[in-house]
Assembly symmetry: D3
Amino acid sequence: MTEAAKTARDSLTEMTELVLPQHSNVLGTAFGGTVLAWMDVCGAIAAQRHCHRVAVTAAMDDVSFLAPIRVGDLVILTARLTAAFGTSMEVHVEVKVEDAQTGHRTRCVDAYMTFVNIGEDGRPSAVPRLIAETAEDERRQREAQARREARLARR
Amino acid sequence: MTEAAKTARDSLTEMTELVLPQHSNVLGTAFGGTVLAWMDVCGAIAAQRHCHRVAVTAAMDDVSFLAPIRVGDLVILTARLTAAFGTSMEVHVEVKVEDAQTGHRTRCVDAYMTFVNIGEDGRPSAVPRLIAETAEDERRQREAQARREARLARR
Amino acid sequence: MTEAAKTARDSLTEMTELVLPQHSNVLGTAFGGTVLAWMDVCGAIAAQRHCHRVAVTAAMDDVSFLAPIRVGDLVILTARLTAAFGTSMEVHVEVKVEDAQTGHRTRCVDAYMTFVNIGEDGRPSAVPRLIAETAEDERRQREAQARREARLARR
Amino acid sequence: MTEAAKTARDSLTEMTELVLPQHSNVLGTAFGGTVLAWMDVCGAIAAQRHCHRVAVTAAMDDVSFLAPIRVGDLVILTARLTAAFGTSMEVHVEVKVEDAQTGHRTRCVDAYMTFVNIGEDGRPSAVPRLIAETAEDERRQREAQARREARLARR
Amino acid sequence: MTEAAKTARDSLTEMTELVLPQHSNVLGTAFGGTVLAWMDVCGAIAAQRHCHRVAVTAAMDDVSFLAPIRVGDLVILTARLTAAFGTSMEVHVEVKVEDAQTGHRTRCVDAYMTFVNIGEDGRPSAVPRLIAETAEDERRQREAQARREARLARR
Amino acid sequence: MTEAAKTARDSLTEMTELVLPQHSNVLGTAFGGTVLAWMDVCGAIAAQRHCHRVAVTAAMDDVSFLAPIRVGDLVILTARLTAAFGTSMEVHVEVKVEDAQTGHRTRCVDAYMTFVNIGEDGRPSAVPRLIAETAEDERRQREAQARREARLARR
């Protein structure tokens, strides 16, 4: 069954995570890897909402952690589809950290991730088209295309 | 330090959880208790966003599970402050389940939960006032007051 | 296969949990939701011991947390069948907290939970009759019937 | 503060665990190590109930797994103090597996474990005397003494 | 399909674990049971590398914990096949703890574990022969044989 | 205390992980994020072995997943320091997946990660010099320097 085209709003995903002792090192700072794992789940959910099948992680572009995350903080993740290519999707995942005492939010890390749509036969399967609703959406798709070419060139 | 009064929008919390095998029984159905634990975290975050201190669970009103949740489904939780009383807050937590294949969302369970604001001395501490912005907010506060009286009467 | 009638003693369940850092907030107090999740597992085990099939959580009546639980404490849960109705069972789950240093036990929270027996076809299936052995058992069944009617009326 | 002498009944500990997919290998059989970890927690709780301080695992005698444990089964652990020596305690931990479908219990594994009482200064600290209430208790203490001598000889 | 004979080097397994708050008691000391669970996984991997099927834990000889393990420490596990008998394998698992601040490694605990090779029909299945490459390997096999006889005699 | 210079061999880290159901989606394929989290722990351990303090993740260069990882597979991670700069370290983390049935190893993913050494005051602190033992080590340090400049330019 071919899925109808969709907009980025259709798959927008928001997750909130509370940082617990098990997510942190002896200084009480969250492991970068815990945050990367949350980003992967958030991005995979957005991709699955677009293709309605299981989306498997194919790549993550480079990431920099701009702010520390501590036990007791909230981590707010947002994932948004930026482009759909053949059997894959690019998703932008953004992470903010919210200080529990002040409510102040800081941008912490973001990444462009690529997910592949896996069909019932376990092989890559075509994804629905992504409709650009605004000029901003169009710009995002063009930039995603450029990142994709850079990724293929790096191999 | 006394916190300024806030609106329900200030503490609105949304969480998305992906149901994994570890959350489910041998039939692949999520444990009710896993969902209750997610509801508690979601409600506690909303309460902490209101009081900017640690909020401890004091009570949960009765809940009914209206729809099964399966491995691979998404669970979307929303928590909203309905009233602030002295040192406690009532939070409404609503759970929807989203079928991964169809994207169809079903209302699954909801509850009114009460959290107590714990100060630096480990004792209940006064919470900021909740501003009613709309007639709907006012109605919610009146109903919360009635539920509170029923809760106190049940003891 | 129809199961023979059973007594409440046949499904009595006791669980002991040690509270670890991963179960607690930054104050070292256990999350209410962790305790609710343990109560659900304990109640589900009692229900499964009665029906010998998977028992799925249908409802939890209102709960109040009477005492805080801290990292290092022991949590003792006891679940006891109070009534069997058609395809569902009511289970009373009681939680005590035991201070590790003094051994002193405090009643912390209790709830009446309802579980549905799920048969091989994934649908509700008839449960064995619950035999009342004592006058106390009879009183429990009458009270469970009254709670059940109140639950149905609340819908 | 010196603790008063206690009986084995004072520290008797029962735990019930439900075997989940995360506890098992690809065949759906529980990892032996998961069961050993549960035995350690159960034994440590019994030891802590005797000494009212943190009890640290010092040794576990040899164990044999007599029956497989599968996802969906219940594991029932019982720990009982057999002897108190200077700063250490011997605890017998016994594991039964209960088939969820039949309720049939099978003895699965048992072990004699040794725990050391750790005082506030982080060093081994004297434990309360264990009172033998019956001839059976006396026999257990004599056998524990023999096992202890064998353990010391093995070093 | 019969597997070709292999050497101990073919199945040598090394694991490194970072001790987190969730692995420890209130003193920040790792639970003995957590270490036993890691030993079981490490030994099972070595056994599976020898037989290329699922290896199930059958027995663990007695263990003594010689040094405490603290949150923040590294735990280094090494597993080595010592003998292959009919359908079972003996594996020696050794645990060292590495102090994060000094890098100093201390021998902490070791054990001889027995795993059974489970075939596709869920029953014990013949394992490949273990080739002794050195006189040391031959000595290990002879000692493993003696331990095996002692284990059988203890039943 | 200033740490003496060290070689890449001093901090070489190897981890082995067994892929369990809780690490995987409904197709039985490991989440990319689980692998990223393991890579982060492995890299952080190598960095901590170099600086003997807590190492916090600052960046991860782009990654591509070349092969799927399934429940039951083994994941072998190796981390190696490639350069030490002022208060940070670059670590190369490589992941291979080993098929449990055949023992065949496939290169799955690798990344260059940057960790910052955090001192007792919670601020970045100087790291020991990395000694190049071979021409290969020298080449690695030159390439690390080039990647570092590219990273700074991307900001």
